[in-house]
């Protein structure tokens, strides 16, 4: 186990923490370049309207304004994976966040004033704000290409087995509808972009992106600027959580403003803009039917979903592909059917957000497991254990489960909240739990799911890892440095990590799908192993020794089995360098996970490993006010191996706070397409006072494909929290809340209905 390692498994403080605690870190928001201008965007006044005329003359005439642009000033290219989103809107607006015009001015106040001088004439169109309404005949069409308001490219049907026969063979079948709301990332640092052209026409963009290489490609395609002349530098960002996975209109707008003015331009979102104009988690209407035998064996699961896509297709509309993993493969279910339709509305459009659809899918599936258990008269924990995935399982979707600590996670989480003693007891306290499955070894969505690393060792023994990976605050740099120090056998303080610049770093698909530790970690390890081999070969030659007899530890080369005559490895590096036929130590590592793309029926093993977890919670419900107080959350996560347990705990804590917000507090209130609570006073982000006691239980299953056994674990922490709370509320007071968030009003209403003897609750 980790005792045999020097750096893996150690609570290493983050490498960037000293800079951050002293206020020295320069975030994108803090950056200024000489002559820099400030960009601002005019957004639509209506959720759905035709643009009749845009008059920019007064704005252009305002002193200090250097450029005003509209759709006429940029290439008519559409962005987003479905290419349905114009950068600046020419003929029509489809949501209130739609970009209509933009200005660049010498300061922010002037830019704001200029926006007020732009006059846009609209002809309002009837809007549609409910995905079910949007699909009805006669609903106003939002895109001419989609007359029924359906994103046809995401209309999916998946099955394995035969659900109908499964239901026929079931002793118990239940069916319910759930609704999941709009929530949003609330990164403390808002979105930004800083674009600057060199006199020779090379473009540098300092971006808040999590995916520098896909971003480079998208920006290039949108603006017709060759990617070879486009350098993306990932500036320090204030959190990502998926919000910075796509390229959004403000980014090409920023570049065009820089192009028009010949000066650097920065656009930074205000908090209100971040709430209104950055993506959301996708709202879901879900019908689920589940069946089981009397003894608790799961037989059949049928899930039908309607997603509110909003006005355009960003990554949010592709989340069904991730939801499918949970629906097909969480627990052993022989018959599964999943059908999804994604409808355009005039609402805000959704994007990627931590868990990428899995919080919604897990909410529905895990509430239903609980409801099945109550219908069967079983302990919900026992039902989970009976059907838990096991190592070696291949699920109906072709998902190959290798390491799997789900059973241990369920047992240990339950034990931590004294499940057996506390479950189904009188009073208003209750316990509940939920599990999860998520990709933990990359996710083959693109033709390549790889990551590149180069590694150089200088004459003084300094080791620089140049990695394609992206650190957005989660601590990837530190984990990469630990992996390199361990593999190479050098002190951690010798290792630094560079990972911010597409001109320097090798390709990586980006920070998504909890893949960085696994994929970039494997790439870093390969590069370190390559460097070690080069150094040992040099040393073998120098010492007249066989390579296999030498090793490196604590930065010194030694003969295996002998502790004496240790030689600093830097001396061997110099010995190789400073001679007539010399060479330097420059190593490489490219890791492509051994996975496959899904076939047309969505079958295939897209990840090289899968993460599992179970969270158990204890709640107390105030039956007078309906308020739910979470007393404790026990989070047992199978992480393969914790390269840095302190960072793993940090991910679990942070994920739980996001899951707690999803479960109890957060909702972006959208009415007729308008966000009514675009600020922290009205959007209830959990504060420190809302956080319960948390026990992190790290389950290590030592995955053979992971770097030192590690699997991805960052998204999972936010996934099972909300259903575990909902299940605990049911255990406490016997009401089932099907629509998040579980507000006091909903609990009170359900309690009243229960008292009045309404429908029998599960």
């Amino acid at each position: 186990m980790s005792e045999e390692y020097s750096f893996v498994g150690k609570r290493v403080p983050k490498l960037d923490a000293p800079e951050k605690v002293t206020g020295r870190t320069v975030y994108g928001h803090d950056m200024k370049l000489p002559q820099m201008l400030y960009g601002k965007i005019l957004r639509s006044a209506h959720a759905h309207a035709r643009i009749l005329n845009i008059d920019i003359s007064k704005a252009k005439a305002l002193p200090g304004v250097k450029a005003v642009i509209t759709a006429a000033d940029i290439p008519d290219m559409r962005i987003g994976w479905a290419r349905d989103h114009p950068v600046l809107k020419a003929d029509k607006v489809r949501s209130v966040r739609d970009e209509v015009a933009a200005v660049a001015a010498v300061d922010e106040d002037t830019a704001r004033e200029a926006l007020e001088l732009i006059k846009v004439e609209y002809e309002e169109l009837p809007g549609v704000f409910d995905p079910e309404e949007a699909m009805k005949p006669g609903a106003p069409a939002i895109h001419a290409e989609a007359p029924h308001n359906i994103q046809e490219k995401m209309r999916q049907s998946y099955y394995h087995g035969d659900v109908e026969r499964g239901f026929e063979e079931s002793d118990v079948v239940i069916e319910d509808r759930f609704r999941l709301p709009f929530v949003t990332h609330c990164c403390m640092g808002t979105s930004f972009c800083l674009a600057s052209f060199s006199p020779s026409g090379d473009l540098t963009v300092w971006s808040s992106t999590q995916m520098p290489f896909l971003y480079q490609r998208d920006l290039s395609m949108t603006l017709g600027i060759p990617a070879s002349k486009l350098r993306v530098i990932k500036a320090t960002i204030g959190g990502g959580f998926g919000s910075k996975l796509d390229m959004y209109p403000f980014e090409p707008i920023c570049v065009v403003l820089a192009q028009k003015t010949g000066r650097p331009v920065r656009i930074t979102f205000s908090r209100e803009e971040e709430f209104v104009s950055s993506p959301t988690r996708q709202p879901v209407i879900c019908d689920i039917r589940s069946g089981a035998k009397k003894d608790g064996t799961l037989t059949s699961r049928e899930v039908r979903m309607i997603l509110d896509n909003g006005a355009y297709s960003s990554w949010g509309s592709t989340t069904p592909l991730v939801m499918m993993l949970t629906i097909s493969s969480l627990y052993r279910v022989p018959n599964v059917m999943y059908d999804v339709v994604v409808a355009y509305t005039n609402n805000p459009y959704s994007g990627a957000m931590r868990g990428y659809g899995n919080p919604q899918a897990t909410y529905v599936v895990e509430c239903h497991i609980d409801m099945l258990a109550h219908e069967l008269g079983m302990d919900p924990m026992e039902l989970r254990l009976k059907n838990a995935n096991q190592p070696g399982d291949v699920t109906g979707q072709g998902v190959k489960i290798t390491t799997c600590g789900l059973t241990e996670c369920i047992e240990r989480a339950a034990e931590s909240v004294s499940w057996k003693e506390k479950r189904a007891k009188p009073g208003s306290r209750g316990v509940g739990m939920a599990s999860l499955i998520h990709v933990g070894g990359g996710a083959r969505i693109y033709p390549s799911d790889g990551c590149g690393s180069t590694l150089k060792v200088d004459d003084f023994g300094k080791v620089t890892l140049i990695s394609g990976s992206t650190d957005m605050g989660q601590g990837a740099d530190t984990v990469m440095a630990q992996i390199v120090a361990e593999e190479l056998g050098v002190p951690l303080e010798n290792v630094s990590v560079i990972n911010t610049d597409t001109d320097i770093t090798p390709w990586d698909v980006g920070a998504h799908a909890s893949r960085t530790t696994f994929v970039a970690g494997n790439a870093a390890r390969l590069a370190a192993a390559d460097a070690k081999r080069q150094i040992l070969e040099a040393a073998a030659e120098n010492l007249g020794e066989e390579v296999d007899n030498l090793d490196i530890r604590e930065g010194k080369i030694f003969r295996k089995g002998e502790s004496e005559e240790w030689i600093p490895f830097a001396k061997m590096v110099r010995g190789k360098h400073f001679r007539p036929d010399g060479d330097i130590i420059l190593a490489r590592g490219w890791y492509e996970p051994p996975t496959e793309k899904q076939d047309k029926e969505f079958r295939g093993n897209i990840s090289a490993a899968y993460g599992f977890a179970a969270q158990a919670v204890e709640v107390e419900v105030d039956t007078e006010t309906g308020e739910v107080r979470v007393l404790k959350i026990a989070a047992a996560h199978d992480v393969g191996r914790a390269i840095n347990p302190m960072a793993v705990e940090g991910q679990i804590h942070g994920g739980i706070s996001m899951g707690l917000g999803y479960g109890l507090y957060e909702e972006l209130v959208v009415q007729e397409g308008r966000v009514l609570n675009p600020n922290f006073a009205d959007y209830a982000l959990p504060t420190v006072l809302d956080m319960p006691e948390i026990e992190c239980i790290i389950v290590e299953t030592d995955d053979p494909a992971g770097p030192f056994g590690a699997k991805g674990m960052a998204e999972p922490a936010c996934i099972p929290t909300a259903p575990a709370i909902a299940n605990a509320v049911y255990d406490a007071v016997g009401v089932r809340i099907r629509d998040l968030p579980i507000t006091p009003e909903k609990v009170l209403k359900a309690l009243k209905e229960k008292e009045a003897g309404g429908e029998a609750e599960r």
Binding site: P18, T22, Y27, H29, H185, M188, G189, T190, G473
Partner: protein, 152 residues
Amino acid sequence: METLTMRLNGEEVTLAIEPDALLVDVLRQQLGLTGTKEACGEGECGACTVVLDGQPVTSCLVPALKAQGREVCTVEGLASGGELHPLQKSFIEHGAVQCGYCTPGMLMSAKALLDRNPHPTEQEIKEAISGNLCRCTGYVKIVEAIKAASSD
């Protein structure tokens, strides 16, 4: 323009400011002290917290002229003589920093607390940072870090 004189991180500073300038803008834009973050502009998130005469204030709501003749401490003034403040060390050691955007505000709220109450209870720590939002850490390690710094 008005003249503002204040004691900033232990040194007297005098500069000309717009009469309606906010303290956060004077610090960040005019004085280049970008350690103080602005994340909402409405006093709701605490990222811009600085210490004004011993009290934590959200500098995005404080007119800069309110600092006239008073003592202001920002995150840049927390370390002294190259030595990190115990809170800074503790935040590093306990993993209380992830993206770091809320960190300066958290540190300043915590400093104001420890200056007036060197040995706070866990509840007092939580109340002191209850106006500081964080999306990354779930606050657990921040509370641990403040607790550890206060017991040193």
